[in-house]
């Protein structure tokens, strides 16, 4: 045998479609969990690619899920990426060999124009007619074959919630002719007249294909009457957010105890199995106690992400953006900033990355600058620890007092974010007008498979952080806390004599005015890598400070016994602003392409945190004494 083997390279496919067309659900069905999430070279637009095998001959495909786009003439970075990728203009990406254009069958008037635009590019294309099961009962009608003839490209039905449509889709895809590689396409944005002409063509085709749009669901219209009601709407939004935060606290209690018990059990087993000494201490005090004290917050983070994904999938988020546009506008932000800011409640990093959907640069910068003020899930462990230790578990009216305090902290973050945005938009980031033009898709039930995949993605990211950066820092911290060893005849706990003790005492001078002891000061240092590390660090510091064998003693009673309430409240206030999160600063640097904004961000957050903690500590000390 000689000559090259038959092409083993997987064929490159791209999924294209307008936002809310059901593209991601199809992507998930085709690729399952075999997905790779990264960024496009040089920008922070999320690049999702998956691999799968064809149903008949087992050919291999690589499927790229391009960002949703209404048009090839972009108004956002996402849309520009989609256009450039299709045109083969994107550095590091070759143009796809086949395009699957996903259209929402119940909304073809909005979807079909993009199909015509893509068809004119000349890429081999297939149209996936994404159909809701209910469409037919609501009066949907379409002659698929006629549509196919009119468009001149294959049209395949895929029912959103049933498997099987994909098979037909792939069979048709295999039948598409292979075209010779094209020269880079000459492409020019269409004129107003051309857009109108295409729109008329869309309507002609739909008429010819006997298209009957399903009526909008009456019940859902009534829901919208409430959700978008000028008074009921904001009330529902506030209630919804409040419910989410209560749920994060109440539902997570049992799984958290389980994780905690598991970690303690593992620590005890290891402690008993290994001979006493350095390795024992490293594994039990450093690795297990450190990583475990962060891992315990996994249930809360998962619950929060679950709600964000449900709100996103159900179609509620754009309505919230509509409701909040005026409020956001009053501090100079766009309603679109709501989605990045909501994501920042999970983590500022994806939140800052999500700001790319804000077309205006200065708006985007202002949103980035306040994103870290949204209480990210990494702060939750810190809040949870202090609340558990200092706030009594009792009810205030219908509410749980601990949940109420947590809610207050979230509100404090939001209010300061608004104040900072207001200040920024009136000074450094004053901008010209920018439009709001937002599609409000019909509500739909979140697809369990999409939810599971989304949660799985977050879980992986969180565990990778715990497993890599956080674990590494825990080990560094354990080292700092264990060396040098206490001198002979020392009376205090060993950690006082270590490097960590020296750093903590040096920092104590800075933080004493706001009520932090050296253990807290010390824990803030590794917290620089990730805020939740501070909890693990406190775990390590206190478990090592403990004399004797009571390493298993949990952190909560420990700090409840040693900190004053004023100190605890001061630390809570500090964490509302908490400048220390290197990943956020690195992402800001990458997004803004300069050190100016990350430095500005770190500076202003530190100043606000210090001032807030100072005031809290002084006031609390005065009131409580």
């Amino acid at each position: 045998m000689s000559g090259p083997a038959p092409a083993l390279d997987a064929m490159r496919l791209a999924l294209v479609g307008v936002p809310n067309c059901g593209k991601t659900a199809l992507f998930n069905r085709l690729t399952g969990s075999r997905q790779k999430v990264a960024n496009y070279a040089g920008v922070t637009v999320e690049r999702k690619e998956g691999a799968f095998a064809g149903p008949t001959r087992g050919e291999r495909y690589r499927l790229l899920d391009l960002p949703g786009a209404y048009s090839l003439t972009p108004t956002t970075l996402d849309e520009a990426i989609t256009r450039d990728c299709l045109l083969g203009r994107l550095a590091g990406e070759s143009a796809p060999e086949r395009v699957i254009c996903v259209v929402d069958a119940t909304n073809l008037r909005l979807n079909l124009r993009l199909v015509l635009e893509l068809r004119d590019l000349g890429v081999p294309m297939i149209v996936a007619l994404n159909m809701s099961d209910l469409a037919h009962s609501r009066g949907f009608g379409l002659d698929r074959e006629r549509l196919e003839r009119e468009l001149g490209v294959p049209v395949v039905e895929t029912v959103a919630i049933r498997d099987g449509g994909e098979r037909a889709l792939l069979e048709r895809l295999e039948g598409l002719p292979t075209l010779a590689p094209r020269p880079p396409t000459e492409w020019r944005e269409s004129s107003f007249e051309q857009i109108q002409q295409t729109q008329r063509e869309v309507r002609r085709i739909l008429h010819a294909a006997g298209y009957r749009e399903p009526a909008r669901n009456r019940a859902l219209q009534r829901v919208d009457g409430l959700v978008m009601h000028p008074i009921a709407g904001p009330v529902i939004l506030a209630a919804l957010l409040f419910f989410v935060f209560q749920a994060v606290f109440s539902w997570a209690a049992v799984p958290m105890e389980l994780v905690d018990a598991g970690v303690n059990w593992l620590g005890a087993q290891l402690h008993a199995a290994l001979p006493p000494g350095l390795l024992n201490s490293l594994l039990v005090d450093g690795v297990i106690a450190g990583a475990g004290s962060v891992l315990v917050f996994l249930p809360q983070i998962m619950i929060l992400f679950f709600f964000i994904l449900v709100l996103e999938d159900s179609g509620y988020l754009p309505r919230a953006a509509y409701l909040l546009d005026r409020m956001m506008g009053s501090v100079g932000l766009s309603g679109r900033a709501f989605i990045p800011l909501l994501s920042s409640f999970a983590c500022a990093v994806p939140g800052i990355m999500a700001t790319r959907t804000i077309p205006n640069v200065r708006d985007r910068l202002a949103t980035i600058m306040i994103a870290p003020l949204m209480t990210c899930s990494a702060r939750l462990p810190v809040y949870a620890l202090i609340i558990a230790a200092f706030i009594p578990r009792q009810r205030v009216g219908a509410f749980n007092l601990q949940g109420l305090v947590l809610f207050t902290l979230y509100v404090a973050g939001i209010v300061s974010a608004m104040a900072v945005a207001y200040a920024l938009k009136r000074t450094a980031l004053r901008s010209t007008y920018h439009p709001l033009l937002l599609e409000l898709p019909e509500y739909r039930w979140p697809d369990p498979r999409n939810l599971m995949l989304g949660l799985w993605e977050r879980l992986k990211i969180f565990l990778q952080r715990v497993g890599t950066i956080i674990l590494a820092l825990m080990i560094v911290l354990w080292f700092l806390s264990s060396f040098p060893a206490a001198p002979d005849g020392a009376t205090g706990p060993a950690i006082q004599y270590s490097f960590a003790g020296s750093i903590g005492r040096a920092l104590e001078h800075v933080f004493a005015p706001i009520g932090f002891n050296w253990q807290i000061s010390l824990a803030l240092v590794p917290g620089l890598a990730a805020r939740e590390v501070a909890v693990g660090a406190l775990g390590t510091v206190y478990s090592l400070s403990a004399t004797g064998d009571d390493v298993a003693a949990t952190l909560v009673p420990m700090i409840a016994g040693t900190w004053s309430l004023a100190t605890a409240l001061s630390l809570l206030a500090w964490y509302v602003f908490a400048p220390q999160c290197l990943s956020t600063l690195v992402v800001v640097k990458r997004e803004t392409n300069s050190w100016r904004y990350p430095l500005l961000m770190a500076g202003y957050l530190f100043a606000l945190a210090y001032i807030a903690a100072f005031i809290t500590y002084r006031v609390a000390s005065a009131v409580l004494s």
Partner: protein, 89 residues
């Protein structure tokens, strides 16, 4: 009845789109016609039926408009580019 701007309408108003003006006129040059272009791309084209279904209180801005079968949220400034014929007047 001569066409009026969508931005002048209140909740409950319905009719058909008459035209989209270049937003260089309504929003100034900095908008570079992006709003008008997107309005056209989203289907604000002559003859399309619309209804104003909600507005934010107070001030009525932004507003939610059903166009054909699709719901859009937009501010009155963007709506200013859309000329409509109101049903029933």
């Amino acid at each position: 009845m001569p066409p009026v701007s969508l931005s002048t309408l209140r909740k409950g108003a319905r009719g058909t789109v008459a035209d989209v003006r270049d937003d260089a006129q309504t929003l100034g040059d900095e908008a570079q016609s992006t709003v008008s272009r997107r309005l056209l791309e989203l289907g604000f084209i002559p003859g399309e039926a619309f209804e104003v279904i909600a507005e934010i209180w107070p001030g009525g801005d932004p507003m939610a408009v059903r166009l054909g079968n699709t719901l859009f949220a937009l501010r009155r400034r963007e709506a200013g580019a859309v000329l409509v014929s109101v049903e029933g007047g």
